[in-house]
Symmetry: C2
Subunit: 311 residues, 2 copies
Amino acid sequence: MVICAACKKAEAEIRLDYAKRSLCRDCFTLFFERKVRNAVLKYHMFSVKDKVAVAVSGGKDSGALLAVLKRLFPRVEMVAVHLNLGIEGYSDGCEEIAKKIAKAYDIELIVCNLRKAYGFSISDFRKTRFSRKICASCGVVKRYLLNKTALEVDATKLATGHNLDDFVGVLFNHYVHGDVEQLKRLLPVNVSHNPKMVTRIKPLCEMTEKETRYYADCMGLPYKSHACPFVHQRRLEKRQRLLDKLSEVMPNFRHVFFKSHVKRLQPALQVEEEAVSVRECTRCGMPTSGEVCSFCKIVSTLTKRKRLEKF
Amino acid sequence: MVICAACKKAEAEIRLDYAKRSLCRDCFTLFFERKVRNAVLKYHMFSVKDKVAVAVSGGKDSGALLAVLKRLFPRVEMVAVHLNLGIEGYSDGCEEIAKKIAKAYDIELIVCNLRKAYGFSISDFRKTRFSRKICASCGVVKRYLLNKTALEVDATKLATGHNLDDFVGVLFNHYVHGDVEQLKRLLPVNVSHNPKMVTRIKPLCEMTEKETRYYADCMGLPYKSHACPFVHQRRLEKRQRLLDKLSEVMPNFRHVFFKSHVKRLQPALQVEEEAVSVRECTRCGMPTSGEVCSFCKIVSTLTKRKRLEKF
């Protein structure tokens, strides 16, 4: 029996290799919440003046996010936002879970149903030229609608459940491919200077996937157990397993790389600012660098298809 | 039997996973030499006006370097430089190999014998506070003496045998630890603006270790088969095996990361130049950022010890 390194009494239930310690359930909960609070304060994510929209997908990360934020900051105004993506045999279950969690933590839940509000679902992309890039299209839709919904409820911050593993996975990819533009923007907080864009925050960015899952379990949160049917996780999964291998040799690899990026590399990266004039999408009026925003572009492929089908 | 992808005739002998092709011995030699020539030209490493000092250690990389440079650029003035580090049961063998290769390629060899010229050997660091950092001390000594020797023979460029695996290993480490200062300087060519520093070049920086070893074998070059007795290669080796794992999933990982660094990341990295006034070492007169250069500093620990031993 391994004894908890913090209380020295209870039996340890989770091993944190990167920190070289094992903790019991109660001490882990305290530890997790302290780390999230520190991240929120350190990166100036929000204050009591903010209204925080929390994106809740039905997964473990966003569930843990809602729970930890509400427990840590009960006085901060929060609203949960869920997007029902209309994926058969999947999305309705996710919505149910989001409702349960929001109810359990007494937070208003705004559901945006893609089919009802916009007349299409993510599944519809199967029939377009985006069929092999369905996850990328889903990403565009989610970013757009989470921002739009957050704006509609007058939220001043939009929190998502990205954890350390997610963050470093993307980080690693951008470094290997030298994507300076993306690296420059990859931060725990993306401050918006545009009134039509809500500042995005990632309060779990310093928590590993293992910690986040265990916290969700400790809190007794329901979460969807199987992945989205469209996720061809192979590439992403493979990358994470590779980074796991790195972590076997260097247990704090993700923590060290994250910190190096945020503290030293990102501040040193200079992007040739081309003074991108942020315009308004000619179709929806939302911010875009081009004439039509990505959301309207990909959605137009669906409507074109429908028009063609009528003939 | 796999047929060579280039000549479509001979049996392929080497598989290049990153290029998805297998080549026969002759076609590989041409391929290797073409790639090295391209690197030399692309990074403006040297011209016929230069005198190139080639550091030859007795290992496969520096042997391959001397061979390929002499074969590709017979009209460029070259001199081989070897440091005899005075490591028992190791260094004399290395010197023999360096002599053989220089003779085979008809290149003058300058040998700097540490014990004879400076009265100490790398082994002596065992008794100093650098005993656990003996490889780092050896690095300081080699960088210093290679530069000094190159200056003494009026060389305008100093070529070392660092291959792609070496380069990316260091690169990876510096990115993970966010060492912006080092990353800024890590390039195939380090141009010197100081008359006491020779511009350093790495003509094999785009060739993998496997390719370099195979080229050395194709050329029938002798090279030391066992590692230096002081090399506790575990850390370096472990890192390379990890990068090998990455390469299993993404065979061109090292090539892509190298290119990303040289083409996009390094140019975007801005180091706060503190206008480091390059001074001259008060003991030896060579360039240093402090009062005494690293070489003189570590060597002084040896002489101090000797003085103490006299009492």
